[in-house]
């Protein structure tokens, strides 16, 4: 190995050692970077969505009123079907419609199922019978969970077994929808979001924040006038942060798999490569922002909006394909959106990384562009400084 190459390697190693020493000296940085962020994000996901594959019903322990105004065998059967299901363990009887409307919204009961007069009569006449669900619209998401659980259980409802043999009388055609596609838990979906957020969030601040902090404290200028090349500084910081990201990914994955029972549909190497691609992309953007010479506070503000943009436009909340106009344009130019797609396709549906060449090409191009522009800008600021 020739001398200049050895020098570059030595310089890179020196930058990595310096960064690690700085991290070791700052207890709060270690805590935030490796403990608080991965732990906060993953455990809040687990708390909100439950363990992967955990079978729980959101309405099971909610007090819900059942008002039977029909008082027939059919309405009685409906009550039994709901009460015997695992979704409505706290059905309360004895309220009137007026009482329920007055009580809803004050926390005592969260919804009311009303079976109106004529319910059985309609069914026996072959007409559509209605039940009314009053819900507290001050409690977000209540309508969806209550009605979907009623609809799920109503399939087993047989109005009066003595009068009508089956709920769906024979002689009627039906079309069943057989759904195919990889199945995964809600937690696994959340895990892809969490992993990306943890990586982007921590990585951007570690790169852009550390350079801005060094600039504010005056050590960055000193670093630039040392014989260490700018390339070695960037590579050193990148390698150091790659190491941190590997540790972080293992923490998140460890928590997700061993505490919350998540199951990955791909191998660990693919997860790590996908993670590091997003991390290096973010590092490139971090260098780019740092090359603009902004302060730490500005870095934090940019970080906030980066996270917000990713949340809104990269396919986390709404799939990229469903966006149109300006949202679609933003989503198309956000390179992270492709990284997230790689992440979802590999972790959730087990697609091999090699089959995602288009997305990988865009990520690769974006990384190259970010690093190249950042390098040129940082070099010009270094030259200005030396002059």
């Amino acid at each position: 190995m020739n001398m200049p190459r050895l020098k570059v390697l030595r310089d890179v190693l020196a930058v990595i050692t310096n960064e690690s020493r700085l991290l070791r000296r700052s207890r709060s940085a270690i805590l935030i970077s490796l403990v608080v962020i991965p732990l906060f994000f993953t455990s809040s996901l687990g708390a909100g969505r439950g363990r992967a594959g955990e079978d729980y019903s959101t309405t099971a322990k909610l007090p819900i009123a059942f008002i039977d105004q029909d008082m027939t065998a059919a309405s009685g059967n409906l009550y039994e079907v709901l009460a015997m299901s695992k979704d409505f363990n706290m059905l309360i009887q004895g309220y009137t419609e007026e009482e329920v409307i007055a009580t809803l919204g004050k926390g005592g009961i969260f919804a009311a199922i009303i079976v109106p007069k004529g319910f059985q009569k309609n069914l026996l006449a072959g007409n559509t019978a209605y039940i009314t669900v009053y819900y507290d619209d001050g409690s977000l998401g209540m309508l969806d969970v209550v009605t979907s659980n009623i609809q799920k259980n109503i399939v087993n409802f047989n109005p009066t077994s003595k009068v009508i043999q089956t709920f769906q009388p024979s002689g009627f055609a039906r079309i069943q929808i057989l759904q195919k596609g990889t199945k995964f838990s809600g937690f696994s979906v959340g895990l892809t979001v969490t992993m990306v957020m943890v990586i982007v969030f921590a990585t951007f601040y570690e790169i852009a924040g550390s350079i801005s902090r060094e600039r504010e404290s005056g050590t960055y200028a000193r670093l630039l006038v040392t014989p260490i090349s700018l390339g070695a500084v960037m590579v050193g910081k990148t390698l150091y942060d790659t190491g941190l990201n590997i540790i972080r990914s293992f923490i998140v994955l460890g928590l997700a798999i061993y505490v919350y029972g998540a199951r990955l549909n791909t191998d660990l190497a693919t997860v790590l490569i996908s993670t590091l691609l997003i991390a290096i992309l973010t590092m490139g953007f971090g260098f780019l922002v740092a090359s603009l010479g902004v302060g730490v506070r500005a870095v934090v503000i940019i970080e906030f909006f980066l996270v917000l943009f990713l949340f809104a436009f990269s396919g986390f909340i709404i799939d990229k394909e469903l966006m149109r106009g300006i949202t679609q344009a933003i989503s198309t130019i956000l390179p992270w959106a492709y990284g997230i797609e790689v992440f979802k396709r590999t972790i959730l549906i087990g697609q091999p990384l090699t089959s995602l060449t288009y997305q990988l090409q865009i990520i690769g191009l974006s990384i190259t562009a970010f690093y190249a522009i950042a390098y040129l800008m940082l070099r010009s600021s270094r030259e200005r400084l030396i002059r």
Partner: protein, 371 residues
């Protein structure tokens, strides 16, 4: 007493003057709610008017009924038939390669079963990594299948016995896309007040002006009181901006506006106390701001801003109920949506106030120890 009040006023004035001199912080105070809500509006418009999803259809039956179903699917507003393929394998391949998000396969014998009043089936293959789009394809397939059956029943004058669920919100308001707007107000209040804590305490400590302030003849109560009053003013400003945007968005606020200000003020004071408490351990303003942003994700999940605590998993429900912010967000929704007064949100306000009463003296005590 008069002196304490006067000193509090002086500190509040100083804080507001400092804010007005820092264009970045001032812009953040004003722009933050506007940007956050603008992004929400963009997202919700994407939900209201989504792009049409491309699918492929494999008609293995070739009957009149299957053709009718394809016609109906092609009229659907949410999906677009990009290609008609010949085999099930080709349909599956189109989904797996990422060419389309979904495929509908109509198997052989489909039409025959419909005509003979038997149960037929269709296969819907979706790329489930696209959650919303997959759901929409299944919904479109279900809707169009139902429409086909409805035509079939009408043609034969058949009636179907069914139970339909009719939902009624207690506010009497029809379902709109603005369900999570109160949650945004809550989140803006929390993040804004946390940022105020960073500005008021940590940055002052970094500049070294906090000990000097503590050495003036003013007592600590006036100093903290003044900072709190300044936070209340900026919080009031933020709440006003957000409410104006809500009203421009067509949201009807059913409850009392002063109650909304009271709730956001209590949330802001609790958050300021929390920020003060955290700042006793985390001294750097940038680290504290990072912590603030890191808090956003758990708050999204657990503070009841975007999903009611009752709809969370059992563990999350308990954690959510322990967070005073959840009670604040709940109160905001109840005021804005249900028009409830103090009698309906009293408990929420008591929880918020009690948490502040416990946390604030503790935070002040620990903060004093760090000087």
């Amino acid at each position: 007493m008069n002196r304490v009040l006067r000193d509090t006023g002086v500190i509040a004035k100083k804080e507001l003057k400092q804010l007005s001199r820092d264009p970045l912080s001032l812009a953040l105070t004003v722009m933050f709610p506007i940007l956050l809500i603008s992004i929400f509006i963009v997202i919700s418009s994407a939900f209201r008017d989504p792009n049409v999803i491309p699918i492929v259809v494999a008609d293995l039956d070739g009957s009149g009924e299957s053709k009718l179903l394809i016609d109906k699917i092609s009229l659907s507003r949410s999906v677009r038939i990009a290609e008609l393929v010949q085999t099930e394998e080709a349909a599956m391949e189109a989904v797996q390669s990422g060419k389309v998000i979904g495929a509908i396969v109509i198997p052989e014998g489909f039409g025959n079963k419909i005509v003979n009043s038997k149960e037929a089936f269709i296969v819907v293959q979706t790329d489930n990594s696209k959650l919303t789009a997959s759901m929409m394809i299944v919904m479109a397939a279900t809707e169009q299948s139902e429409a086909l059956l409805e035509d079939y029943r009408t043609e034969r004058a058949l009636k179907l016995t069914a139970v339909e669920v009719v939902s009624r919100p207690i506010s009497g308001r029809p379902m709109t896309g603005d369900l999570i707007l109160p949650g945004y107000l809550g989140l803006i209040t929390i993040l804004g007040a946390f940022d105020d804590a960073v500005n008021a305490i940590t940055r002052e400590r970094e500049r070294g002006t906090f000990p000097r302030l503590a050495l003036t003849p003013m007592n600590l109560l006036s100093i903290y009181g003044g900072k709190m009053f300044a936070t209340l003013v900026t919080n009031g400003l933020r709440t006003t901006f957000v409410l104006i945007i809500f009203i421009l968005q067509g949201l009807v606020i059913r409850g009392s506006i002063p109650l909304i200000y009271l709730t956001t003020s209590l949330m802001a004071i609790f958050t300021l106390s929390f920020g003060l408490m955290v700042s006793t351990r985390v001294r750097s303003s940038s680290t504290l701001t990072i912590l603030e942003i890191a808090m956003t994700f758990p708050l999204f999940q657990l503070s009841g801003a975007f999903s009611g605590p009752e709809t969370l998993a059992p563990g999350g429900r308990a954690i959510s109920r322990m967070l005073p912010w959840t009670w604040g967000n709940e109160a905001l929704r109840r005021i804005i949506y249900l028009g409830l007064g103090l009698e309906g949100i009293g408990l929420d306000l008591i929880v918020l106030s009690a948490s502040t009463i416990v946390l604030l003296p503790l935070a002040t005590y620990f903060s004093k120890r760090t000087m």
